[in-house]
């Protein structure tokens, strides 16, 4: 079955990012397809490669990146939400005249249309948030 996941909450805020990660991983472990993981609102903060959590804590960004690499997962960050929160890829950083980008490997920045498409293309859309 084809799943899509929407995440509206940032990492280390409460538990939604953790729940979404474990759910997505369980989907893939069971052999389901995950059409897309869409990060919206504060959820975009999962996609910065500059987080440095304590070594004995889970590293959510790294977990997502590794899951994406292992399963060729499409992880999309909402562009409007990302710009407000300072999540930039190389292209956006140049376009906005910023001196650096910070998007983590495995994430890409795109529009809300990608969420709509995921809702249509997937058999189930599961939402995690606060």
């Amino acid at each position: 079955m084809k799943f899509a996941v929407l995440i509206n909450e940032g990492p280390y805020t409460h538990q939604a990012s953790d729940s979404a990660y474990h759910f997505t991983k369980a989907c893939l472990d069971k052999g389901h397809d995950v059409f897309r993981v869409f990060f919206y609102n504060d959820g975009v903060n999962n996609g910065t490669r500059l987080t440095v959590p304590p070594q004995d804590d889970r590293n959510l960004q790294k977990n997502w990146t590794e899951l994406a690499e292992k399963h060729d997962l499409d992880m999309v960050v909402c562009i409007a939400a990302a710009q407000r929160r300072g999540i930039l890829d190389e292209n956006e950083a140049r376009r906005q005249g910023k001196d650096a980008d910070n998007i983590a490997p495995g994430f890409r920045i795109s529009g809300l249309g990608q969420l709509v498409e995921a809702g249509i293309a997937a058999d189930r859309l599961v939402v995690f948030g606060d």
Binding site: A16, F23, K25, K30, R124, V126, G129, D130
Partner: protein, 102 residues
């Protein structure tokens, strides 16, 4: 066309869990995760609301979130089935849609 409802906040913190129970249609089930699992404790002010629906609707709790809060199946109202993340995925697949009560 049953729906799986997910609740992730305690009913003692927000009203979403209570609202969810009032909106269940025939065949719907409720999966409780994160702080929502606190709402499944027996002998609380909320337990009666759960008893009112548990005859007609399946109640599920996410095991890892019970463990994280020191809750055991014996601490919960009767009729709750504990599932892991794989069980969560199965429930989503078995129902026609999932409604998150955020």
């Amino acid at each position: 066309m049953p729906t799986l409802h997910t609740v992730n906040k305690s009913p003692f913190e927000r009203t979403a869990f209570g609202s969810c129970l009032k909106h269940l249609a025939a065949g719907d089930a409720v999966l409780v995760l994160e702080d929502g699992v606190v709402g499944l404790r027996k002998a609380t002010a909320f337990a009666g609301d759960l008893d009112a629906v548990s005859g007609d609707h399946k109640l599920y709790a996410l095991g890892p979130d019970l463990d994280a809060r020191g809750l055991k199946p014996d601490d919960l109202v009767s009729g709750v089935t504990v599932v892991d993340y794989g069980g969560f995925v199965d429930l989503v697949a078995e129902h026609d849609r999932t409604q998150a009560w955020l």
